[in-house]
Symmetry: C2
Subunit: 144 residues, 2 copies
DNA sequence: CAGTATCCAGCTAGATACTG
DNA sequence: CAGTATCTAGCTGGATACTG
């Protein structure tokens, strides 16, 4: 009976794994906010960048503004991220039919609350990152 | 002068991008907690699983216990994750030299506080995920 | 201006086999 | 029991070119 055994164990593991995943609802959110560009877009629209002049609170931004702020993001990633966030109701996409079309993005209430969550993360990071880094180098030194 | 132009633009973009990254310290943390298995290990050691009997607060767990709880995680991923967390001072790794060696993992104070952060995330997820899902299906329906 | 479409390199994570 | 080592498939993200 060696034929089905391995496959069965694998299938069983798959199920248990999914069950544990389902039991941990933060996974859903994490898949959303753990994305590199999602966080950066959130920062940008939330006004954390402060390099554009205004700072502190949410603002509507044009595609090209975001693109300029997040230099290094390809259009592909930017558009993909923006679409995903729009799909989830985190940002609004407003098309103004001017001559060359104008598109602005803005955080929704949902997006603002998500931005708040990411601020909580940022706070933790600022308070503990130094300790983490210290531990990390200590660990690396210990390992001959 | 078309030779250096493209490369220069690319280099410039790289710098700006990094600058914005650096300005957003949550990236560091996100790289840590956004990992699938990190969160699950955090859940396990934090006692969120509740499938082992005890529930609610932190507990020391053996490698095999974690492995059983997170069925579906390969040893590679589990070990890798555990090592990274140990390196960052989030968990402790205790080796007891019994006959077959016994290794237990436990959250440190730092790990507990990180676990709290992830609980904040979980709360947001529980409060808003339904809305996100609604928006998402609405968006998908709209797209003919 | 604000995208869409396509192709491809690199990294990650899973499978598998072996060890103190 | 608690790993380490190695190979590879698949997905993600970046480059590039084209469009309403």
């Amino acid at each position: 009976m060696t034929t089905t055994n391995a496959a069965q164990r694998r299938a069983r593991a798959k199920v248990e794994y999914n069950a544990f995943l389902a039991a941990c609802p933060s996974r859903q959110l994490l898949d959303r906010i753990s994305d590199k560009w999602v966080v950066l877009v959130l920062c940008a629209l939330g006004g954390d960048a402060a390099q554009t002049g205004a700072a502190g609170d949410a603002m509507a931004m044009r595609y090209s503004e975001i693109s300029r702020l997040l230099a290094g993001a390809s259009q592909k990633m930017l558009t993909q991220t923006l679409r995903a966030l729009e799909r989830d109701g985190v940002v609004t996409r407003t098309v103004t039919p001017t001559v060359p079309v104008t598109v602005t993005y803005e955080l929704t209430d949902l997006g603002l609350s998500l931005h708040e969550v990411s601020r909580g993360l940022r706070n933790w990071a600022q308070n503990h990152m130094e300790e983490v880094l210290t531990r990390r180098t200590a660990y690396d030194d210990r390992a001959s």
